[in-house]
Point group: C2
Chain length 540, copies 2
């Protein structure tokens, strides 16, 4: 199958829930007033802006000027990216795509970039994994003059596996499916990290953005699975400690996690692997009161039981995901799994269900030795981005906002999000679920659907929605992102969320590691801050 | 009770196991040839070096020149510290001790330090929690000209507790016992972080050194309990995010953890608390082969069961701790506890015991609804430092080395440690236990006992031991410290263990946050590196 140039995933994928969703939306919104035609990719390819500088010779590294490659490397897969793809707004494409196959070639690209800057012709270099960013993480800034995307997908080997330590040494350009397949074939082991983007994202992307994974509690962040990393920087190649733990100095030799390609390029990583689970069990509990559902979820998250699934959602979402038929206020999907321990129903699930019963829950699906409830959820979840691609053409804007806050702050934050959405003064369908739970707070995940007034306002209407909700999150003690990264889209809120001294420390580290400021400029740290760096650094 | 000036803990504490230990040691070592007299603290106080500069006026902050305070703030509690205390080697004492009671006063101390540097009379400022450092973390460098110790123990309040989020906001100068007592009295909650130093160390010390805690698996590091922190730096007051989790940028706004007072002073922290456990269960398993014990421990650590205790030790140690009577090759203490879930024996312990049985273990103590096995261990463990104080006077050198390595690397590392000890060419009693276990590796903890040839060689013999073992750890892929910090004693190995670019990044951050280099100079980063900073920073 061919990857779609403008949309999510592969071309021509069927979305079974499409018609049902359209009908449901028409019960809420006015009938769409327009439908956009299928994107004319061939036309846009033929009229694409030519590269703005001669094709560079970068050591032995392959460099491409192919229009399709350049288009595919210029956008991620956010709503805005898909909308612009549908509308053919490929005005600001990258000039070239480099395909390094080794650390040496990655170094050659960085050295070439340094030389270009020294020659007075600075370039922007944008590391690219699977390109599934939904926050403008792989897109050039509008003021960029020369841009090369660095596609890491040819560095995709499983280098070694150690079944005693249960670790695997990997090149980071490997895509999710190849990684899973390779580990399964090796000896029925798994990374047990399944982001929604799994099929179209790479290990390197997960590391660079601190991907949150699919599981609800305890070890779920990609951070939790990292033993060590190799990072190519302008200062040289860094190798972090290869240790299960160390109390020697700050833990931040993992500062590369979440650095979003702004400090260096992560080329290799040793991860913790696990035996594939053989024992599974799942259950569904409903609540007549949302607050009771929240309380039960909180108490489970504070119990030390660590369910693999603990996903509380509003009834509307649960129906949409095919988990329940009839409306309830709250629906909690619970799951446990293990590679070694049988009897999960009695050992782990029963104490969770007891907590639910104490909070007026109704056990809709008694615990079964399977994961049918969690599977049902996951299957719908995985095809959701395809659904969005189709509905954009009908003028629907669908966006998700993820955050995290303390349990006691959640009601206030939730109210603020709802008020912000109401302030838009137009119909918006808004639902929430908790994707992850921590003892001190949940990670609420909001799904919003609304309609654009015209094809040309798709992006500006989305911008307005993004602005009011993000402002509300930051003003009410949420994080601007929980596992979707910051990119260029969230940079303005990132610097508001974090302490200014911490931001200055990051600017400082970037100035040290990337003195030319060429690595993914404008991502994480607004580009204006980096311009100020020279005046900051001269004072230290 | 009075705190001992030179020794561990309180003056005059009885050590029940002292005579038995002496007798045991005399079966291994020649009878001691000398016994040092009880330290003459009054004499040393009266002959102490006078402060080297006039008593400073630092805002409203109390400053003391009291000789006893100055002595107590000049050493930690390492073997070398105790030995020097016994021998009266108080040559390099701090000049003053400041006792701030608020963030404002901490700021005043830093501002005063900045001014002193600007006036050409630079000072060294050493943050001081409980002073239980065993790595030279609170001691002035020998080339210091003016030193003020900053004692944080008057900032010791429990500010607030939130029972919904299960968090507590604390001032960091609070000592372990006051913290535990305060939380218990509040509502039977606990931090569940019990370092060996608990009675004589503060929350701030645990944070600054990344204390490892007492529990064996999953959440045990102080890091795991931190929600947010307030840090006073020369650049201003920093507040880290008050969130259960955030994927926005690198996680390193916790870079303050493990910074050992070199970047700023941690004054406040919100921690995750838990209900005090009401259900407990413990068990002891013995193995006729050390390797079988290691295998069983490894498989338990990879099972996802997360025992609170999972402490494998050599038979000699287990006898010493009163856990077993007869020698075996390996002894494994297992424990589980919970505040909410009953039936731990069947739910959690049994699968662990099954793993032990599959690895030829013998269940010595069947699981009981108590924690007698883990209590027995802990009680001996807590009094061990007092024992050391007495035996030093008989010329015994007792030292512990903690490290962490991968499971597959452990045999090589262990062999290297044994070879290093043998290279000293004198009788050394050497035992090992695992204090913590991770899926990818254990944290081996070596206890060594040997004899000094004369009173004057106590410190130099200890130095030689420290050198060969630490060199062996670093050369064989271990970490120089797991939860004992780096201090000044380990700085030479710290820079060998970590990647040079990471070290340069830390130097860079220190240069930014502490441009005068006055905060705990020589701790973590060798002072020579900091001298080089100006030349490094001028290049960035």
């Amino acid at each position: 199958m061919q990857r779609s140039v403008w949309g999510w995933g592969y071309e021509g994928v069927e979305v079974p829930q499409l018609e049902k969703t359209r009908q449901m939306l028409e019960t809420i919104f006015p009938k769409p007033t327009f439908r956009l035609p299928k994107p004319n990719v061939e036309l846009w390819k033929s009229s694409l802006r030519k590269p703005r500088f001669p094709e560079p010779k970068i050591g032995t590294c392959e460099v491409s000027h192919d229009p399709k490659e350049r288009m595919m490397h210029s956008f991620g897969k956010s709503f805005r990216d898909i909308a612009r793809g549908v509308l053919g707004q490929y005005g600001n494409v990258v000039d070239y795509v480099a395909f390094p196959t080794s650390e040496v070639q990655v170094q050659e690209v960085l050295e070439w970039g340094e030389k270009m800057a020294q020659d007075g012709t600075p370039v922007d270099l944008i590391p690219f994994g699977g390109g599934s960013s939904v926050v403008g993480g792989v897109e050039p800034l509008i003021d960029s003059k020369r841009v090369v995307s660095i596609d890491l997908s040819r560095m995709d080997k499983i280098i070694s596996v150690n079944l005693t330590d249960m670790t695997a040494q990997l090149q980071t350009g490997i895509f999710g499916p190849a990684l899973l397949r390779g580990l399964t074939e090796y000896d029925k082991i798994t990374l047990r990290h399944l982001p929604q983007s799994l099929s179209f994202s790479t290990l390197g992307g997960w590391l660079a953005t601190r991907s949150g994974g699919h599981y609800a509690s305890n070890k779920t962040y990609i951070d939790d699975f990292v033993v060590n990393m190799t990072i190519v920087t302008s200062k040289g190649i860094v190798k972090t400690s290869n240790l299960p733990a160390s109390g020697a100095g700050p833990v931040a030799d993992k500062i590369w996690l979440g650095s979003e390609g702004t400090l260096g390029i992560i080329t290799e990583c040793t991860v913790r692997v696990q035996k594939e689970p053989t024992f599974k069990c799942s259950s569904i509990v409903t609540f007549d009161s949302w607050d009771n559902g929240v309380n039960a979820t909180r108490l489970i998250s504070q119990s030390g039981l660590y369910p693999t699934q603990c996903r509380l959602m509003q009834g509307m979402e649960a129906i949409g995901y095919g988990l329940i038929q009839d409306f309830v206020e709250a629906c909690l999907v619970l799951g446990f799994e293990s590679a070694t321990i049988d009897g999960l129903e009695e050992r782990f699930m029963q104490p969770c269900l007891d907590i639910c019963l104490e909070n007026q829950g109704t056990i809709l699906k008694t615990p079964k030795k399977d994961e049918s409830a969690t599977d049902t959820f996951r299957n719908s979840f995985i095809t959701a981005p395809y659904l969005r691609d189709h509905l954009i053409m009908d003028g629907y804007i669908m966006e998700t906002f993820e955050t995290a806050c303390s349990w006691s702050n959640f009601p206030k934050l939730d109210e603020a999000v709802r008020a912000a959405v109401a302030s838009l003064g137009k119909p918006v369908m808004l639902t929430v679920r908790f994707t992850h739970v921590y003892p001190d707070g949940p990670a609420p995940y909001y799904t919003l659907t609304t309609q654009a007034s015209s094809p040309t306002s798709l992006v500006s209407d989305w911008d307005a929605l993004k602005q009011v909700v993000s402002d509300a999150l930051i003003a009410n003690g949420g994080t601007i992102t929980h596992h979707h990264a910051v990119g260029k889209d969230h940079a303005q809120w990132f610097v508001k969320e974090k302490d200014p001294i911490w931001i200055a420390m990051l600017v400082n580290l970037k100035g040290f590691l990337d003195p030319q400021g060429m690595l993914n400029r404008g991502t994480l740290l607004p580009s204006k801050l980096l311009k100020d760096f020279k005046s900051i650094s001269s004072k230290i």
